[in-house]
């Protein structure tokens, strides 16, 4: 660019010199023009080098017509924060009996899990034999704190013209809920719980993939449950908890009045309430599934979830600002907007906290009562 302008300048100067020679009476005028052309290039050159304060790059000027308004509007940049993703929900509440504990220390729960002796025939003059009573089953429950801290700079919050941080409190609440969802999912997907169900035998576990026949087997297995004295219990397999890859299978089984995988006319007597667990892992086609009892109907509680008294759900907490506004060094101060943050750095610090816990045992895993659970690896065709 600079070279082209320089060449043009020199060409023009040479033209003016030629004209001056041809017209000596006008030589003064031509020489003045030559000096002007040279000065114009020098000014341009200095401008490119950023040296001249007088350099004006002469912004492009155009005549604006009505058609240009459309063009002008499209040049505006609009920024907009879009809604985040919808996340999969895990409605685990029916599987887990809520419990409230007074503090962070272990609490104890006792349950009768056996009946008394049957009567015995006594003959004339014979005294009945003494009956016996089994010990209550003792279980512990304990809660722990679950926290996460978030740190926002004062500048980030002030600069947020999109309201991007406005829903952070909601997201923090979501995070607490999601953590609890994963925690509950782990009650039955952890290795110890699974090993326990496997060790309890074929009435508590199998390998079959999810089909109507297998759901029926699980329901029949629940029908075989007995208490510690071997007396039949009233407990049903009510909830089917499944890997999300089994969604279509579950819907087909549930919505068909026939036996779906057998594809003809047999009436489907299998009935259950499906619960999709988004956190269960597995590789298709070997997808696990579980069946659980309803503790409200049968008093067989597969899992328990403890919460501390007075702390029924997550709380979002903010560190109180340690600064105040003053008008004189020794005068009284007034509180400032919390967005000012702390005195040292201007940071705004929040945390989300919840308190929960459950039964934990090295042998039984999280199974508060194994009689309320059934597991399948989902591997056998």
């Amino acid at each position: 660019m600079r070279s082209i302008i320089r060449k043009m300048s020199l060409i023009r100067q040479e033209q003016l010199r030629t004209l001056a020679k041809a017209n000596p009476q006008l030589a003064n005028g031509y020489n003045k023009r030559i000096a002007e052309v040279d000065a114009m290039f020098s000014e341009f050159n200095s401008g490119l080098n950023g040296l001249s304060h007088q350099f004006d790059p002469m912004p492009l000027q155009e005549v604006m017509v009505s058609a240009d308004f459309t063009y002008a509007i499209t040049e505006f940049v609009q920024r907009l924060a879009l809604d985040g993703y919808k996340m999969m929900e895990f409605p685990w509440q029916p599987l887990v009996k809520p419990d409230t504990v007074p503090n962070y220390l272990p609490v104890y729960r006792y349950q009768h899990r056996s009946s008394l002796d049957d009567l015995e025939l006594v003959t004339e003059k014979e005294r009945p034999r003494a009956g016996s009573k089994d010990d209550a089953t003792k279980r512990t429950n304990q809660v722990w704190r679950w926290d996460k801290e978030y740190d926002f700079s004062h500048e980030a919050l002030i600069n947020d013209d999109l309201g991007y941080f406005k829903d952070q409190a909601t997201l923090m609440g979501d995070s607490a809920r999601r953590t609890l969802d994963k925690y509950v999912s782990r009650f039955y997907t952890n290795a110890v719980t699974i090993a326990r169900l496997v060790a309890l035998g074929a009435m508590y576990s199998q390998n079959g993939r999810l089909t109507t026949a297998r759901v029926s087997e699980a329901r029949m297995a629940f029908g075989q449950r007995v208490d510690d004295r071997g007396n039949p219990m009233e407990v049903e397999a009510v909830y089917l908890v499944y890997h999300r890859g089994l969604q279509d299978t579950v819907l087909t089984i549930l919505n068909s009045t026939l036996v779906p995988e057998l594809a003809t006319n047999a009436v489907n007597v299998v009935n259950f309430i499906p619960i999709k667990d988004p956190y269960m892992t597995g590789t298709a086609p070997n997808l696990p599934w579980y069946m659980f009892a309803d503790y409200k109907r049968s008093n067989v509680t597969p899992f328990i979830l403890g919460r501390r008294q007075g702390f029924p759900g997550p709380m979002i907490l903010r560190r109180k600002s340690d600064i105040e506004s003053v008008t004189s060094l020794l005068g009284p101060g007034t509180a400032v907007n919390p967005v000012m943050g702390d005195f040292e750095t201007g940071n705004i610090v929040l945390k989300v906290e919840d308190v929960w816990g459950t039964y934990v045992d090295g042998t039984e895993g999280n199974l508060f009562d194994s009689r309320g659970a059934y597991y399948s690896t989902g591997t056998a065709p």
Binding site: Q142, W144, Y183, R186, T189, N190, A191, V192, T193, I194, A195, R196, V198, A199, L200, G201, A202, M203, S205, Q206, N207, G208, T211, A213, R214, E217, M220, A221, Q224, R225, V226, D228, R229, G230, V259, E261, L262, T264, N265, A266, V267, T281, G282, P288, G357, V360, G362, T363, G365, N366, Y375, S376, T377, T379, A380, P381
Partner: protein, 136 residues
């Protein structure tokens, strides 16, 4: 030497943890080697004859084969064990079917697969039991 119950519990849990770590070092999962709880009154072993009965399966032995063919039972020979099985009840589950033979065969195959797949194993990717640091 533990002098209180609390200290004793801590000692026990240390031993449990050492046992778990040792099992992991040996390539075993301490959970997967859990022994069957056979003293429970509702215990039925995986793949056991009792489980076959529970599933409504009857093994057809060599001596019974001729009788089974005469009676036209639906038979399924397991590719896994070579055993031949029939359903205890070939009627009630399939009464409403237009082609009960075909359906009963599929049903029988699934039952045999449930029986012969043996004891489930703990998935390799199963998370460990979450034991909070202050749990005990």
């Amino acid at each position: 030497m533990a002098t209180t119950n609390k200290e004793l519990e801590i000692e026990i849990n240390k031993l449990k943890e050492q046992n778990r770590v040792m099992a992991q070092l040996l390539g075993l999962s301490s959970e997967s080697v859990a022994e069957d709880v056979t003293d429970r009154k509702d215990y039925v072993g995986h793949g056991s004859p009792e489980y076959a009965l529970f599933l409504g399966l009857i093994e057809v032995l060599e001596d019974d084969m001729a009788d089974a063919k005469i009676n036209e039972y639906i038979l399924y020979e397991s590719p896994l064990t070579g055993k031949t099985w029939r359903l205890e009840d070939e009627v009630s589950p399939f009464m409403a079917f237009a082609n009960p033979d075909k359906i009963a065969k599929l049903y029988l195959r699934q039952k045999v697969s449930s029986l012969e797949s043996g004891k489930p194993s703990v998935p390799a990717g199963a998370p460990s039991l979450l034991v909070p640091r202050t749990a005990f």
